[in-house]
């Protein structure tokens, strides 16, 4: 499924809350965790990472992967952590509200 607009950032932040990762790792993680249901466009992901770095939600530094390749690792800042918490809460509430509207008994349910 393509991502609902505006949810990429919070997903990335959540992913990085486990540990610092580089771009490909994040993409793979999201695919695996969602059981293949969420597909992220590579370019969109990398641009989103740049954006969040600019907003100081993330920090980046070059590192080395297990395969010995150079990769740019991203990690959460405390601002990012706070943003993750807030956005998660907001999204959950939204989904709750959606669910209660959509699940209510209607004539055509």
């Amino acid at each position: 499924m393509p991502l609902v607009k505006g949810t990429l950032d919070v997903l990335v932040l959540k992913t990085l809350s486990w540990s610092p990762m580089h771009a490909f790792e994040i993409a793979k993680w999201l695919e695996e965790r969602s059981g293949g249901r969420l597909s992220v466009e590579d370019a969109a992901l990398m641009q989103a990472l740049h954006r969040m770095e600019e907003r100081k939600l993330l920090e980046a530094a070059w590192g080395v992967t297990e395969n010995g390749r150079r990769a740019r690792y991203y990690r959460l800042t405390s601002a990012g952590r706070a943003h993750l918490r807030a956005e998660t809460k907001r999204l959950s509430e939204y989904v709750d509200a959606l669910t209660s509207v959509l699940n209510s008994r209607t004539a055509n349910a």
């Binding site: 466009e41 641009q47 100081k56 530094a61 590192g63 395969n67």
Partner: protein, 921 residues
């Protein structure tokens, strides 16, 4: 191989270089390819063959045609780095400011002194410039002011003469002639002085005295000023005298005195007893064409006879009272207008003069035609030189302030030497250090500018009020040029005292200050470089010398002017100005009035003598006449003009003048008797070549032969400066019918202080005629002092600035010497231990300080000489190289400097050797 888990802040501290554009692009490309490689590895690990994996990876990346992944990534990376860089920069500056404020807060006294000193320098400059801008630079607030031309003597704002036509102040008939004929201007307006206007805004309300002006009907049209309410004057307002009883008020007057009432249009007011209707309110911000005065009410010229019935008739070509303003027609220039008006005025006057000799005078008359952009001003010319002097003086003061502050910054920077070196060793760039030090200076600069600006706001108003005796209103508004000026000098001053020391401090060699960390405060020892502080003190001394000498010269000039002999009994004269015309006194009742007044006042205890005259002493009125003298041929038309005054009997003796030859005027010189006159020495010398004038005949205007019966020593009766003026004194009794409307000033000589009998004199006048308007009764000394108000103000200000500069220089000297003494504590201790006496140490240190002062004085002499020459025009009777002033200035400077240097020297001489040597370790 940086560990990505290392805190980024720590990394940044040690890696301060900013990212270049290339590095950003390379970074983005590297990230992209690393992503690709990672995917390929992943696919291969899952069993795909390498080439297929690569193709799949590329496909997944979305390399659709036209979708430039790399470009997009580069773009987002560039934006990221740019914004991050800006943010970092902003945070660094904010941090610098915070640190700067904290450091200043830790030493509040130093900070306060620095801010106040800078505020003094900036505030004085801004205050003077505000006045300069308003009086000298600013144009009238009308559309296209530079297309206006002013015709006439622009300083004669309240000019009003009777007798002859003039080429520089115009009569109403002459104005009409010019208006109908002039082609270089598309419109020609006239404006003239009102006398005192007694205005009642409501029936039975109080009498007010607003500033008024009589103007032509096209005045507002020519200037391009519209109405905010109602209308302005138009063609309909011109007609027969008294036919347009309307007035226009200014916006300020409407808001102020009329309460901004919305029913102002159509309201009736009473002016000099005549009912006028307010036809409109002029556009906001317009206060007339006179720069230093805010006009409150404009009245058509045609109403003048109704409002001032006892004044000279304005239909006469001899009543000259109008100044003209015209707007250049398209394609015309000021030079063209000047040529046209010069020829027109000459032609019109010549054509209307009855006698050919009088007409001949005007063939070559000079008609003043200048740009009207700055309107008219009675004070501009006299203010100009004083203002320029003041502006230069405060400029010098600001320089001294900057050197003082530079010293201060240097001293503090030297104290931070080791810290700077440590920072540089840890990788801080030189630019960053300089920026940090500059920020602290900038904070002081900003605070000083703010305080100075506020002080200037108040100060410039006070200055103008003092200079014009409170008469000027609406002057000293803050404007863009003033703000820009303040900004420029603030930034300039801050750079001056902040940047140079910052650069010098950050240039210090890294190793040596750290080595001396354990030593006393102070940095490099010797090193062959002269600390800047030792150069700044002589500079301050030199600048102070310039200011002090200038002050001394001005003060001496003023003193000479005030104490010169005036040719009359200055301290025992009381001058009472009356307004008999308004009371309805005319030529028939005039003499009876004067006889009664002199008799009554002579009876007041303390009065030695009483006399009277038409123009009075130190008043703004003067009369002149055209004279013809057998045997005398003048070179220019001015040579035939003789200022005179109509006086009562016994005038010379009553005012305390010195009669050199012949006799005084007395009661036998009455109407019908042979015409006589007393002239002064200057007139005798000029017209009779140094020979005896007694018995000689002078022909005044109408050709009546007047015999000279007395010669009096020159009397300074109108101003303290300026050359001696020729003057004649003619008996009032003989001329009273021809003098037009009689004016009357009483001169009363007293035995004691004239101020003591002001009240009895007023009572005496009232007892003769209680309704007779008294304009003022004042001692002559007061009038004289007021006439030199500007000069006195200038000297007062010069004193203040001179004192300030002296104080600053002394503080600067003290500071530098204290610092030097502290640095040399070890050396001094050594000397004492080796047997130097206290006196020797004192001499050593004092000599050091005085050497700097001597250097400063030597350096300041040429500048002082130049400044003195520039002041020449303002010095009354004092040469530019006046030795007294120079000696006084030098003496004060040296005395002050010696005291300033003495304190640290004395402290040095008391240093105990043991303490000094221990502190060395």
């Amino acid at each position: 191989m940086a560990d990505p888990r290392l805190p980024a802040r720590a990394r940044r501290l040690f890696r301060l270089e900013s990212r270049s554009a290339d590095a950003t692009l390379a970074d983005a490309d590297a990230e992209l390819s690393s992503f690709l490689e990672a995917r390929v590895d992943d696919l291969v690990a899952r069993g795909m063959p390498p080439e297929a994996a690569r193709a799949e990876a590329l496909r997944r990346l979305g390399s659709a045609p036209g979708y430039d992944v790399r470009g997009r990534l580069r773009g987002s990376a560039r934006r990221r780095d740019r914004r991050l860089g800006l943010r970092e920069h902003r945070e660094a500056v904010a941090q610098d400011i915070r640190v700067g404020l904290r450091r200043l807060g830790k030493e509040p006294v130093v900070a306060a002194v620095a801010v106040l000193t800078l505020a003094l320098g900036i505030g004085t400059n801004t205050a003077i410039f505000t006045v300069v801008d308003d009086v000298l630079l600013r144009a009238l607030p009308v559309p296209r002011p530079h297309a206006l031309v002013a015709i006439g003597k622009v300083t004669a704002v309240d000019g009003h003469t009777t007798g002859d036509a003039r080429p520089d102040l115009f009569s109403v008939p002459l104005y009409h002639d010019l208006r109908d004929r002039a082609r270089t201007v598309s419109g020609l307006a006239a404006s003239g002085t009102t006398g005192r206007l007694d205005v009642r805004l409501t029936d039975g309300g109080e009498v007010e005295r607003p500033n008024g002006r009589f103007v032509s009907a096209n005045y507002f049209d020519v200037l391009g000023v519209g109405a905010e309410r109602g209308r302005v004057f138009g063609a309909a307002d011109e007609g027969a005298p008294g036919s347009s009883p309307v007035a226009i008020v200014s916006d300020a007057y409407w808001r102020g005195r009329l309460g901004g009432a919305s029913d102002v249009v159509g309201r009736d007011i009473t002016v000099n007893g005549v009912k006028l209707t307010i036809a409109g309110v002029a556009r906001r911000g317009f206060g007339g064409e006179i720069v230093e005065r805010s006009t409150d009410i404009w009245i058509p010229i045609d109403m003048q006879p109704a409002l001032e019935p006892h004044s000279a008739p304005i239909t006469s070509r001899g009543t000259c009272w109008l100044l003209l303003l015209g707007r250049l027609a398209p394609g015309q220039t000021l030079a063209g207008a000047r040529a046209e008006f010069t020829s027109l005025v000459r032609r019109m006057i010549v054509a209307s003069e009855a006698s050919p000799e009088r007409a001949a005078r005007f063939q070559q008359a000079v008609v003043p035609v200048v740009s009207g952009a700055q309107g008219f001003s009675a004070v501009r010319r006299s203010f100009r030189s004083a203002l320029v002097t003041l502006q230069a003086g405060v400029g010098v003061l600001l320089l001294i302030v900057c050197t003082n502050l530079a010293n201060l910054v240097l001293a503090r920077a030297a104290a931070r030497g080791p810290e700077m070196s440590l920072r540089m060793a840890l990788g801080a760039g030189r630019r960053r250090l300089v920026r940090q030090m500059m920020t602290e200076s900038a904070v002081v600069g900003a605070l000083g500018a703010a305080v100075g600006f506020a002080a200037a706001w108040w100060g410039s108003r006070a200055l103008v009020a003092a200079a014009t005796a409170g008469g000027a209103s609406g002057v000293a508004r803050v404007s863009w040029p003033v703000l820009a000026f303040t900004l420029v000098i603030s930034v300039g001053a801050t750079l001056c005292f902040g940047l140079v020391p910052a650069f010098l401090a950050s240039r210090s060699n890294v190793a040596s200050p750290m080595r001396s960390l354990g030593r006393t405060v102070g940095g490099t020892r010797g090193g062959g470089r002269i600390p800047i502080g030792r150069l700044l003190v002589p500079l301050q001394v030199a600048l102070s010398l310039v200011l002090l000498t200038g002050t001394a010269l001005l003060a001496h000039g003023l003193q000479r002017m005030e104490t010169q002999s005036m040719g009359l009994d200055r301290d025992h004269l009381l001058v009472a100005e009356l307004d008999p015309a308004r009371r309805g006194i005319d030529s028939t009742t005039f003499l009876a009035l004067t006889n009664q007044l002199t008799a009554r006042i002579a009876g007041v205890p303390g009065v030695q003598a009483v006399t009277y005259s038409m123009n009075g002493l130190f008043s703004s009125h003067e009369s002149t006449a055209l004279v013809a003298i057998p045997g005398f041929a003048g070179r220019t038309s001015d040579d035939s003009i003789l200022p005179f005054d109509l006086v009562g009997p016994g005038y010379v003796h009553a005012i305390g003048g010195t009669l050199l030859r012949g006799r005084d005027l007395d009661t036998r010189d009455a109407r019908g008797q042979p015409s006589v006159a007393v002239i002064n020495v200057a007139a005798e010398r000029f017209y009779f070549g140094g020979g005896n004038a007694i018995g000689k005949v002078i022909y005044f205007d109408a050709g009546i032969p007047t015999t000279v019966v007395g010669v009096v020593d020159d009397v300074r009766d109108h101003s303290l400066n300026g050359p001696d003026v020729r003057r004649a004194y003619v008996p009032y009794a003989q001329e009273v019918g021809d003098a037009g409307v009689p004016a009357l000033v009483l001169e009363i000589r007293t035995r004691a202080d004239p101020a003591a009998i002001v009240a009895p004199v007023r009572a005496a006048i009232a007892s003769v005629d209680a309704e007779l308007p008294i304009v003022g009764v004042r001692p002559l000394g007061e009038l004289v002092r007021e006439s030199i108000r500007q000069e006195r103000l200038l000297v007062t200000l010069a004193f203040v600035f001179g004192l300030a500069s002296l104080l600053l220089a002394a503080v600067g000297l003290y500071g530098v010497m204290s610092y030097a003494v502290t640095r040399r504590t070890g050396e001094i201790g050594l000397r004492s231990a080796l047997g130097a006496s206290r006196a020797e140490v004192l001499r050593l240190v004092l000599g050091d300080g005085l050497r700097m002062v001597a250097l400063g004085i030597a350096a300041g002499v040429p500048a002082t000489w130049l400044a003195a020459r520039a002041l020449r025009s303002q010095l009354h009777d004092v040469p530019a190289t006046d030795p007294v002033s120079v000696v006084v200035a030098l003496g004060v400077l040296v005395a002050c400097a010696t005291v300033a240097a003495l304190v640290p020297a004395w402290r040095a001489s008391r240093v105990a050797p043991a303490v000094a040597l221990m502190s060395e370790r």
